[in-house]
């Protein structure tokens, strides 16, 4: 599983930078040039890039948790191996991204601590429940599918270490997606019970998948640093539309129904009705769709989602139970930058 780094990008301070240097930097970036860690960059660029990589790394690490809980329940040898390998990949993505962030000036240990104390965040979609095997299938298909789309554009960004990492990660995400697609197809060509499981899980994940790309674009999106400095190369709404264009017809082709759902506070669906806006506009080639529940989205981001507490408790448990091991391995140097 993986995540877009939809960090808030409000920057006031970059007007302080040397105007000539800033202009040269912006020209370089606008022309498709890459920024390397030792190059001159606006402080705001460094801060945002660090936050973006850190948020992305956090998301990989926390994203390993909901699926990780299903490794021991995977129903065949092949699925067990594939799921373990996938979750392991996500941990590997986290490790690589923490390294990118670390080069921008924050130790891994500091990042892991900020994660468990709630100072920093991770991707919102991991705060939703994963109550059945079909949810594992949907996460790998819908959420990794969303991640591939998003990270495909991030791989054309401006920060060298980050985009190189994106390229490596995206190759693995493609496997995750294939594994997810195969699991969904298996369920949808299985028993009535399996199809029902799949539809219910799809209903739980379609909304979070749409919200995956972040809130609706503000009017000045192109002027904001993330786009202007090519940290991102596509806006949230562009990505969301592309996603619906690809996944709505794909879901329907398997026999799934794209519903608009209401959910209770535990993230379980209380009502589901077919999306009335789901129509192909022949002129634009775009599929219409109902926006995800943005009130719910912001409520979950603020920490009041179905699984925020559970995910953080497990992450904290993991950090704390490992403390003595890190101390032993690092001879007491728990703040050493590389191994925490």
């Amino acid at each position: 599983m993986s995540a877009s780094a939809n960090v808030e990008v409000k920057v006031k301070e970059f007007s302080k930078e040397d105007p000539a240097k800033l202009a040269a930097f912006e020209k370089h970036v606008a022309e498709g040039g890459l920024v390397e860690p030792n190059d001159w960059m606006p402080e705001a660029y460094r801060a945002l890039m660090l936050r973006m990589a850190e948020h992305h790394a956090n998301s990989e690490i926390v994203g390993a948790l909901p699926e990780g809980e299903w490794i021991t329940k995977a129903p065949s040898l092949l699925r067990k191996l594939a799921l373990t390998a996938k979750v392991q990949d996500e941990v590997g993505h986290g490790q690589m991204l923490y390294e990118v962030a670390q080069d921008l000036g924050k130790t891994r240990n500091a990042m892991l601590r900020d994660l468990i104390t709630g100072v920093t965040k991770y991707h919102n979609c991991f705060n939703y429940p994963c109550p059945t095997w079909a949810d594992v299938c949907m996460i790998a298909w819908l959420i990794d599918g969303a991640a591939i789309l998003n990270q495909g554009t991030l791989a054309h960004g401006s920060f060298g270490p980050y985009i190189r990492t994106m390229r490596r990660i995206n190759m693995e995400e493609a496997f995750h997606f294939k594994h997810g697609e195969d699991m969904v197809l298996t369920l949808m060509s299985g028993t009535e019970n399996q199809k029902k499981m799949a539809q219910e899980a799809f209903d739980r994940w379609w909304g979070p998948a749409l919200a995956f790309f972040g809130p609706v674009d503000p009017p000045d999106v192109m002027e904001r640093p993330a786009m202007k400095w090519r940290m991102k190369t596509a806006t949230n709404d562009e990505l969301r539309q592309k996603y619906v264009n690809r996944f709505a017809p794909a879901a329907m082709a398997t026999g799934l129904v794209v519903n608009v759902c209401e959910k209770d506070e535990k993230g379980f669906v209380t009502s589901a009705t077919p999306d009335p806006l789901l129509k192909l506009d022949k002129e634009t080639g775009n599929w219409g769709f109902t926006q995800p529940d943005w009130d719910e989205f912001f409520r979950v981001i603020r920490g009041d989602g179905p699984c925020n507490k559970e995910r953080m408790a497990l992450r904290r448990f993991s950090y704390e139970q490992g403390e003595w091991v890190r101390r032993a391995i690092l001879n007491g140097a728990t703040n050493a930058p590389c191994n925490n």
Partner: protein
């Protein structure tokens, strides 16, 4: 010899189940650490070992399939408690204590390495070949766990104490790895397997040798009584089995 006389089928399947079930459940328990191990790099490495074990188990279930035609997933997921042949150390709850996981891994990995070495000398070539191939990978597992024993034994006072406690806690379970599989004498007498003497003694020499210089001690006794190898499993095993079968059992005939 690639054809195995029918009179040995039952006994050889039993021996293969001992290996496959040990590997399946050790991998099963260890894979549960994926995403929450103490250090990211250790997490990734430990998960690879778990995946190896599950894949190795699969190869042994395939070999069983070549004898009796049973589907490997059905063998792995579809049996009742008493039909599993693993020693219960592999499913002993580690309570997400890394010292427990390392102690369990240490005892089991060295044992597996020696067992596979012996199975490599089997006169039935499909098993000899498989055991040889997997034992080469098992040697890497032993190297890996040896490094952990050295690091944690020689780490801090705290880490040494924790490791010693875990080694002691798991010692009685380690004994039960040496419970003889039913029918193994038939295989010795029939010249299918080679009796190379006491496996426990060989294992004890090997583990003592590894911990030498770490300040850790091994107090495992030879096996007595009946255990997992004859289908007498404890509660931790049953819990692991229930978890393993949870989704599978909702419809054992469905494709997943």
């Amino acid at each position: 010899m690639s054809e195995l006389d029918k009179q040995f089928h039952e006994a050889i399947v039993n021996v293969l189940l001992c290996v496959a079930d040990d590997k399946l459940f050790l991998g099963h328990r260890n894979s549960d650490w994926t995403g929450i191990a103490p250090i990211l790099e250790a997490d990734i490495a430990f998960s690879s070992l778990a995946q190896d074990d599950i894949a190795h188990a699969g190869a042994f279930y395939e070999l069983i399939n070549s004898i009796n035609g049973e589907n490997p997933d059905q063998i792995a997921f579809g049996r009742n408690t008493s039909a599993y042949r693993c020693a219960d150390i592999v499913t002993k709850d580690d309570e997400f204590n890394w010292a427990n996981a390392i102690a369990r891994q240490f005892y089991c990995n060295v044992y597996e390495y020696l067992r596979l070495q012996r199975l490599s000398n089997c006169t039935w070539s499909p098993l000899a070949n498989l055991a040889k191939r997997i034992d080469a990978e098992q040697a890497i597992h032993v190297d890996h766990i040896t490094t952990w024993m050295e690091h944690l034994g020689n780490g801090t006072e705290d880490s040494k104490e924790r490791m010693q406690k875990a080694l002691d806690d798991y010692a009685p379970y380690a004994s039960m790895m040496f419970e003889a599989p039913r029918g193994i004498d038939t295989l010795f007498e029939g010249g299918i397997l080679v009796n190379e003497g006491c496996l426990f003694t060989a294992w004890k020499d090997c583990v003592d040798n590894i911990v030498d210089g770490t300040g850790l001690t091994i107090t495992v006794e030879p096996c007595t009584g009946d255990g997992g190898r004859t289908g007498n499993h404890d509660e931790d095993f049953t819990r692991s089995l229930n978890e393993l079968q949870e989704v599978f059992n909702t419809d054992p005939l469905a494709a997943w």
